[in-house]
Subunit: 223 residues, 2 copies
C-alpha cells in the first residue's frame, strides 16, 4: 500500500511521512510544488528509517501530481492552496480515490490569546474541498487534532485520538487502518463528513488551551 | 462556599450536586421550578453523603430563585428555558454573580447517526445567555463535555478535562477550583467566552463517537 502526501515538505507532512514509514506497512510518496524539495525530504525519511533499522517500506519524492498513484492521498496543504492544486493536477486524477484532509482553517486573536475555527460557508474545510473533487472521490478527515509540534519528534509517542469522518464506510476503514499504524494513535469513526467542522474546530481549541495553561503540544483523547 | 444548581433535579444536575457535595468543600442548593421536587432530590444527596460518611457539606432544595444566594450558580437547564427562568427570577438577582453554563444545544440526525451543535446566531449558548444577564454577571462554561450518563454513577471516576471559558479571570479561577474538587476532573482555562462554541460542539461529537464506535459514555481529555 502506498500513501501520497501532497504538501509533504511542511513540518506536519514530513513528520507524517516518517511516522507512516516507520509504522512499516505503507510506502510514502512525498509531493510538493517543488519536486527537488520533495526529494530532499524523502531522503530525510529514508535516513530516519535506516537509523531506526526499519525495513520493508520506503519513501520517494516528486510533484504533488505524483501522489495520485497512491492508494491513499493526504492533503497536507494550506486550505487556500487546495483549489489551485486540484485544478493544476486535474480533477479527474482524483476519481475514486480515498483522500484525507487534515486541514483546520483557523483565525488567530493574539491580543486575547485564543484561536477560532475559520469556518467556511460549507461548515468545514473538508465539506468545501468535497465540492472541488469528483463525485467518486471519497474524502475523509484524519490526523486533524494531533499536536503539530510532535510530528517530527519521532521519539515521542503520539497517544491521541484521531476522528475519521466520511461518507464511505470502506474508505473510512482504510483510513482507520492507516491511523492505527502510526505511533499510538487511536482511530475513531466520527460519522459522516458533516461532522468534520467540529473535528476541525478542536485544533484551534487545543492551541488556545496550550497558550492559556502553560502547556506544550496539547492533543485530544476521547475515552 | 455554596453552589446553586438551577435545574438541579435532572440527571446531570442531581449527579453534579452529589459529586460536588462529596468533594467536601461546597454546600449545594438544588433549585427547581418545583421546590418540592428539589427537596426530594436534596434529600437524595444528603442520603448519599451519609452512606459515604462524608461530613462538612450539605444539600438543600428550593426554587430556582433560591440559587441566587450562592457563590456560584450553575445553569443546568435546557437552553430554551434559560430566558424565561432569568426573567421570572429577575435579571438583577444575577448582578455580580459567577455563573456556569454547561449547556450544549444539539441537533440530532438519527438516520445517519450523528449530532451537530445547534449553534445560536451568537455562536454559542453561553454567548447567547451572556446577553440575557446583567453586564456585571461573570459567565463561564464548565462541565460541558462530561459524559452525561456518568454523573449519577458515583462509584465511577470522572477522569476528563473540563474547559472553563470566560472573560473574568477571578471567576474562572473560582470555577476551576470547583471543578478540581469533583472526582478526577481536570480544569483547563479555555480563554475568553468567545471560544465557548467549540467547547459546546464537542458534546455532540462525543455522542456521535459513542454511537459509531460501540462505546458508552465517551468524554474528552486534553493532554
Amino acid at each position: 500500500m502506498k500513501v501520497g502526501i501532497m504538501g509533504g515538505t511542511g513540518n506536519i507532512g514530513e513528520g507524517l511521512a516518517r511516522r507512516i514509514c516507520i509504522g512499516g506497512k505503507y510506502d510514502v510518496m512525498i509531493g510538493s510544488r517543488d519536486p527537488a524539495k520533495a526529494e530532499i525530504a524523502a531522503q530525510g525519511v529514508v535516513d530516519a528509517l535506516a537509523e531506526r533499522g526499519v525495513k520493508g517500506t520506503t519513501c520517494t519524492g516528486g510533484a504533488n501530481a505524483d501522489c495520485c498513484d497512491s492508494d491513499l492521498i493526504i492533503l497536507s496543504l494550506p486550505f487556500d492552496k487546495i483549489e489551485s492544486t486540484i485544478e493544476s493536477i486535474g480533477k479527474d486524477k482524483f476519481e475514486n480515490k480515498t483522500i484525507i484532509s487534515l486541514i483546520n482553517p483557523m483565525l488567530r486573536y493574539p491580543k486575547d490569546k485564543y484561536f477560532l475555527h475559520d469556518r467556511p460557508p460549507e461548515e468545514s474545510a473538508a465539506l468545501a474541498i468535497q465540492k472541488l473533487l469528483p463525485e467518486s472521490a471519497k474524502l475523509t478527515t484524519g490526523f486533524n487534532n494531533v499536536a503539530a509540534g510532535k510530528w517530527m519528534l519521532l521519539d515521542e509517542e503520539l497517544d491521541y485520538s484521531v476522528v475519521v469522518c466520511g461518507d464511505d464506510k470502506e474508505s473510512k476503514n482504510a483510513v482507520k487502518d492507516l491511523v492505527s499504524t502510526v505511533s499510538k494513535l487511536q482511530p475513531l469513526d466520527g460519522g459522516p463528513l458533516k461532522t468534520s467542522g467540529i473535528v476541525e474546530s478542536i485544533t484551534p481549541l487545543v492551541i488556545t488551551l496550550a497558550m492559556n495553561n502553560g502547556l506544550k503540544d496539547v492533543g485530544v483523547y476521547f475515552r
